[in-house]
């Protein structure tokens, strides 16, 4: 607690506080713009932080994360288009509510729900992060390997599109980071004789290519698509104490759901909001209103998607496993600053560990204040034309890819993975498993090989270690689940035919 209070105190000094405010504001603005994502903003900002202190860099990035997830509701409510994937469910009820003449009320409820969801999940972050980090040092290499495998299967299973495509994406992501230096033995592999490949593909160009350039290309091809803003004047409405009382159970339940979904490796805001929305509808006395301007639906969605943020930070800072896609970008931000995001973070870099927790608290409060006061101003920025923004994003990506290694080879890698990202978009192959695979592959390989060194080549400890066995069982369960669905369908068809 003493470390946390020290970290909060440090953040209240001028420069760090300015970074929190700046990061949150930029996150809200970018999050509100359809076509631009929080991940894009974070990736493009990382090169700017090269010369910054690592703690300050991560404070800025975390603030952007929180601002971005919250900002997505602005375009979801006013345009009927989610600014971020996490705000998809907010569109279902926020937009109809705005069309009924209550855009301010919709935004007020959403902002209040985001704040409360963020605060409740922050409490879980404080309570769980350090204990999990302390316990995780006892995890063996096979346990870590199984945890990574489980993260891969989970994210593939819940991503949009088929499970096969999700798994292809994840394993392909693992493969692209293999060229270069073998992490366990140190020799070169899969360089095909090109000296430029001796260092392998750097993570930043891969991430920026797939997520940023791929998205830019898709936006260019779809540039003729139009959207009409529903309102230009908004009277703000703050969530009242009466609203909190009426929505109390929904707020707490959705916060719990969002936090625990966020803790699951690789799964992020959009899944949390889907589950919370579905549960809220099932428990609602007026389920028929969902999808037509239900305040309960709006509150559930926004509470959960903000709650996933701190939930996802728990495995990130205690285990070094990303809890969501954006956490993957935060990991790359840490690696750029030579910070190892593993279980020893709390002891080797307590300033960063507690700085992240403190930043999450402060950014949540600043988000609430900015959104409440400046939502009208931010909503006007939403309709900046894409033809002015997209070229700027490409240039920033080129600079970002070049800056880390000072090699134009990395810029070509950026473009190559941009083409891959575009193909993934057109072929409906989810990108999230690819990114998770790319980040976790080195960990998985090192842990498996060191585990086999210890066991003398024996794979049995993968099953006999309780933690590892549980992770493998969960992975198997998710892999087998679609087969259960197919078998049920076949049985019902057979029964239907017999019934005739």
């Amino acid at each position: 607690m003493e470390h946390l209070l020290t970290a909060i105190g440090a953040l209240l000094t001028p420069w760090p506080f300015f970074l929190v405010v700046l990061g949150t504001f930029l996150g809200i603005t970018v999050g509100a713009m359809p076509g631009l994502t929080t991940g894009m903003l974070i990736l493009l900002t990382i090169p700017l932080t090269f010369t910054m202190d690592p703690v300050h860099a991560l404070i800025l990035l975390i603030s952007m994360y929180i601002g971005g997830i919250s900002g997505g509701q602005i375009s979801a409510v006013l345009l009927g288009m989610p600014g971020t994937p996490a705000a998809v469910l907010t569109t279902f009820d926020g937009f109809p509510l705005a069309r009924q003449g209550q855009p301010g009320r919709a935004l007020g409820l959403g902002i209040g729900a985001s704040f409360i969801g963020g605060m409740i999940s922050w409490l879980f972050l404080v309570m769980l992060a350090k204990p999990i980090a302390d316990v995780s040092v006892y995890l063996g290499p096979f346990d870590y390997f199984s945890l990574v495998l489980m993260a891969m299967v989970l994210i593939a299973a819940v991503s949009r599109g088929s499970l096969i495509k999700g798994l292809i994406s994840g394993f392909f992501g693992m493969m692209v980071v293999l060229p270069g230096i073998d992490p366990a033995a140190g020799g070169l592999r899969l360089t095909f004789g090109f000296h430029a490949m001796d260092g392998g593909f750097k993570l930043m160009p891969i991430l920026m290519g797939v997520f940023v350039i791929g998205q830019v290309l898709s936006d260019i091809v779809e540039i003729r698509g139009k959207y009409e803003p529903i309102v230009t004047r908004i009277k703000g409405s703050i969530m009242s104490l009466r609203d909190i009382k009426v929505q109390g159970v929904n707020l707490v339940r959705s916060s719990f759901i969002g936090t625990w979904i966020g803790i699951l490796p690789g799964i992020g805001g959009n899944i949390g909001s889907i589950v919370a929305y579905t549960v809220a509808k099932n428990f609602s006395r007026t389920p028929e209103k969902f999808g037509h301007g239900s305040e309960e639906g709006l509150v559930a969605s926004e509470t959960a998607n903000n709650a996933t943020i701190c939930g996802a930070l728990i495995p990130l800072i205690s285990l070094g496993i990303p809890g969501s896609i954006v956490d993957v970008f935060l990991i790359s931000g840490m690696m750029v600053h030579n910070v190892d995001p593993g279980p020893l973070l709390s002891t080797s870099h307590p300033d960063i560990f507690y700085g992240i927790i403190a930043a999450a608290l402060l950014a949540n409060i600043v988000m609430f204040l900015i959104m409440t006061g400046a939502v009208g101003f931010v909503s006007r920025l939403m309709i900046v034309k894409k033809e002015y923004i997209l070229p700027v994003i490409v240039v920033l990506s080129v600079i970002g890819a070049y800056a880390e290694g000072n090699r134009l080879f990395d810029v070509w890698v950026l473009m190559g993975f941009g083409a891959i990202g575009f193909v993934m978009h057109r072929a409906s192959i989810p990108k999230a498993p690819f990114i998770i695979g790319a980040v976790l592959a080195p960990i998985a390989e090192v842990k498996l090989r060191s585990g086999l060194q210890i066991s003398g080549g024996d794979f049995v400890p993968l099953i006999t270690s309780p933690f590892s066995a549980v992770c493998l069982l969960i992975s198997l369960g998710f892999l087998m689940w679609p087969l259960v669905g197919i078998a049920t369908k076949l049985r019902k068809n057979a029964e239907h035919l017999d019934g005739r």
Binding site: I164, M175, L178, D182, A184, L217, I399, A403, L408, L448
Partner: protein, 159 residues
Amino acid sequence: MLRKWDVWVSVVLVVLCGIVFLETLKMPPAIYDPIGPAFFPRALSVVIVGLSLALLTQRLRASAHQSILQSAPADYEPSRWLGLLSTLLTLIYLVGLQFEAFHFGPMTALYVTAFVLLLSWGREPRVPLKAVTIAIGVGIFVGFGSEFIFKEIFYVDLP
């Protein structure tokens, strides 16, 4: 359309993984650990080939009716030629950077101006003078502004 993309992706992945698998046969045997550097890439390439063949089989067996349902038309026409031209423009820009045809600032200013004009033309065939002025302004600001900001303020090296 989705079916065509799936087939091509599967074929490309099978070929790519085949190349990786053949490359792993040239790797040295395990010395420091029981499985060595070849195990992971070899296992991944086998798994990806298996999944790609499963996807290919699935798509080739899918009925024409299903593929029609999947490719519901959008309410606007995607602009493939705009994507191709944008890619070509970007490649010219990168080749220019590679061979140091111009300094970063002017090169980027020209690129951004051309790109904004191209995208404006892609949205509406008649580009108004106001849009041209904005394109030039954005190009100059981004080209020279980014050079100043990144080099002088953030101390980040540029191509």
